[in-house]
C-alpha cells in the first residue's frame, strides 16, 4: 500500500484544530480585535487533557460512551475522504454511504449522551440537532449521488479524484450546485452560523454546545477533537469539489489543497462575520434548500 494517503490522513488529523483557529482569527479581524492565537484549538485540547472530570450522578454508561464513539466514528470517516487528488486510505464502492452513516452514528451517540444527563437544556439541544441533521442528511447523500454518478464509480476517492477544472468547464452547473449544497451542509453539520452560533453563551440559543454542557476534561477534549475532525472531513469534501487542482505532482496538489482548506476557514469566518444566525424556524428552509440544490444536480447529471 502507498504511504501517501496514510501520511495525508495523519497530517489532516494533526492540522484539523488549526482550521478552527483560522476561522476565529478571521472573525477577530473583522471585529477589529486581535483574537485568540491561531493555535488556540491545540492549547484548549492540551488544557482539557490535563484535567480530571465530573460526571453527573444522573448519567450512565451511555453518557461515557458518547465522546468515545463520536471521536472514533469521525476518525474513521476522515479515512474515507480523499485529499488533493490522492485517494483516501480507505476506498471501496459505496464508501460515501458509510461516511454518511458514520456521521449518523456519531450524532446518535452525542444525542443519546445529551439525553442521558436528564437536563432539559441538553434535551432541547438534542432535539434541535436531530431535526437539523435529519434535514441536512438528504442534501449530503444527494451530493454524493451526483458526484458518483458523474464519475460512474461508487467510491468517493475515484469520483472526487476524477474531478478537474476540465470537469468544471463541461459540468459547471452540476458542480456549482453540488459545491453550494455541500457548503450549506458543511456549515449546518459543524454548528456554524447561520445554523448555530459556536460562540453563544446562552443555553437556550445553542444547539451543539448545549448538548455537550456536561462533558468535562478528557471527555470534552474528545468532543472538541471530534468536531475539529468533522469540520475537516466536510471541508475536504467542499474543497475537493470546488478546487479540483490536478497538476500531476502530488506534493503540489496537496499544498494547493491545504491552502484551499485554510481559505475555506477564512470563508467561514467571513460568513460568520457578515451575517447573523437564522431564526430557528428558518433553518429547516435553508437545509431543505441544500437538499433541493443537490437533487437538481442529481437530476442534471442523470438527464
Amino acid at each position: 500500500m502507498d504511504a501517501a494517503p496514510v501520511l495525508r490522513y495523519l497530517l489532516a488529523f494533526a492540522l484539523a484544530p488549526l482550521l478552527g483557529g483560522v476561522i476565529t482569527k478571521t472573525k477577530a479581524f473583522f471585529a477589529g480585535r486581535t483574537g485568540a492565537p491561531l493555535l488556540q484549538g491545540y492549547f484548549d485540547l492540551a488544557k482539557l487533557l490535563r484535567k480530571g472530570t465530573v460526571y453527573s450522578t444522573t448519567t450512565s454508561w451511555v453518557f461515557r460512551a458518547g465522546p468515545v464513539v463520536t471521536v472514533g466514528a469521525v476518525a474513521v470517516a476522515l479515512a474515507l475522504v480523499p485529499m488533493g487528488g490522492t485517494p483516501a486510505p480507505l476506498a471501496f464502492p459505496g464508501d460515501f454511504l458509510l461516511l454518511a452513516y458514520l456521521f449518523a452514528l456519531a450524532r446518535f451517540f452525542t444525542i443519546a449522551a445529551a439525553l442521558d444527563t436528564g437536563s432539559a437544556f441538553e434535551g432541547m439541544g438534542a432535539s434541535r440537532e436531530a431535526q437539523f441533521s435529519a434535514l441536512a442528511e438528504p442534501g449530503l447523500v444527494l451530493c454524493f449521488l451526483a458526484l458518483t454518478r458523474s464519475a460512474g464509480d461508487l467510491s468517493l476517492s475515484v469520483s472526487l479524484g476524477a474531478l478537474s477544472f476540465a470537469a468544471w468547464r463541461s459540468h459547471a452547473a452540476v458542480l456549482a450546485l453540488v459545491a453550494a449544497a455541500l457548503f450549506i451542509v458543511f456549515l449546518a453539520e459543524n454548528a456554524r452560523i447561520p445554523v448555530d452560533d459556536p460562540t453563544t453563551h446562552l443555553e437556550l440559543t445553542m444547539i451543539h454546545e448545549v448538548m455537550v454542557l456536561d462533558h468535562g476534561g478528557p471527555d470534552l477534549a474528545l468532543v472538541e477533537a471530534a468536531s475539529w475532525l468533522k469540520l475537516w472531513v466536510l471541508g475536504a469534501l467542499v474543497v475537493g469539489v470546488a478546487v479540483p487542482v490536478r497538476t500531476g505532482i502530488p506534493a503540489l496538489d496537496g499544498g494547493v489543497f491545504l491552502a484551499a482548506m485554510l481559505l475555506l476557514g477564512v470563508a467561514v469566518g467571513v460568513v460568520e462575520s457578515a451575517m447573523a444566525r437564522l431564526r430557528l424556524l428558518r433553518v429547516p428552509q435553508l437545509l431543505v434548500a441544500s437538499g433541493v440544490l443537490a437533487a437538481l444536480a442529481t437530476a442534471l447529471i442523470s438527464g
Binding site: 487533557l49 484535567k51 480530571g52 472530570t53 465530573v54 460526571y55 453527573s56 450522578t57 444522573t58 448519567t59 465522546p67 468515545v68 464513539v69 471521536v71 472514533g72 466514528a73 476518525a75 474513521v76 479515512a79 480507505l90 471501496f92 464502492p93 458509510l98 458514520l102 439525553l115 444527563t117 436528564g118 437536563s119 432539559a120 437544556f121 441538553e122 434535551g123 432541547m124 438534542a126 432535539s127 434541535r128 436531530a130 431535526q131 435529519a134 464519475a151 460512474g152 464509480d153 461508487l154 467510491s155 475515484v158 443555553e203 454542557l213 456536561d214 476534561g217 478528557p218 471527555d219 474528545l222 429547516p284
Partner: protein
C-alpha cells in the same frame, strides 16, 4: 458477470458482479475490516481516556442546571418534546391532536395541555382497510354454524363440484 470477464470492462467500473463469489468475499472482507477499524478507534479513545483519568479526580455531581439546584425527572425533555420540531414539520401528514385549556386572565385558573400524534398509517390506512375486510367477511358468518354434519356437507359439495368441473 464473474471475475474472468472483468478485464474486458472499462477499469472505471470497480463493482464486480454483485453476486460473484469474489465480489461477495471482497464485500465481506471490506465490511469486516471497516467494522473492526471503527471498533478499534472507539476502543483506543476509551483506553486513552481511562489512562488520562488514572490518578485524577473523577467526581460525581449534579447535572448542569444553570443555577437551578433541584431538577427532577418531571423536568426532563420528554419523547414528544424531543420529536416536536420534526413532528411539527410534518404537521400536514401527522396531524397532531391537542387538547386542553390555556391559562387566561390575570389570575389564571389551573390550565392543562395534552397532545397526541397517532400513527397516520395505522389511523388512515390499516384500520380502514382491515375494518372493511372484517365487514366483508362478517357477511359470510352464516357459513360457520358449528355443526360437524354441515361441514361434512360442505366437503362433499366441494368435492362434487370439483369432480363435475374435471369431468366436463
Amino acid at each position: 458477470m464473474d471475475d474472468a470477464d472483468r478485464g474486458s470492462v472499462t477499469p472505471k467500473l470497480t463493482l464486480p458482479g454483485p453476486n460473484s463469489e469474489t465480489a461477495v468475499r471482497r464485500r465481506t472482507a471490506v465490511s469486516l475490516f471497516v467494522g473492526l477499524l471503527a471498533a478499534a478507534a472507539v476502543a483506543a479513545a476509551a483506553v486513552a481516556r481511562r489512562l488520562l483519568l488514572r490518578g485524577r479526580t473523577v467526581a460525581a455531581g449534579p447535572t448542569w442546571g444553570c443555577g437551578y439546584a433541584a431538577p427532577s425527572p418531571r423536568m426532563q425533555y420528554t419523547a414528544s418534546s424531543f420529536a416536536q420540531p420534526l413532528v411539527d414539520l410534518f404537521r400536514p401528514v401527522l396531524r397532531t391532536e391537542t387538547a386542553g385549556t390555556p391559562p387566561s386572565g390575570p389570575f389564571p385558573a389551573p390550565a392543562s395541555f395534552a397532545s397526541a400524534t397517532p400513527d397516520p398509517a395505522d389511523r388512515r390506512l390499516y384500520r380502514p382497510v382491515f375494518a372493511g375486510v372484517a365487514a366483508l367477511f362478517g357477511r359470510l358468518r352464516w357459513v360457520q354454524q358449528g355443526r360437524i354434519q354441515l361441514y361434512l356437507l360442505y366437503l362433499v359439495a366441494t368435492l362434487l363440484i370439483l369432480l363435475l368441473w374435471k369431468v366436463r
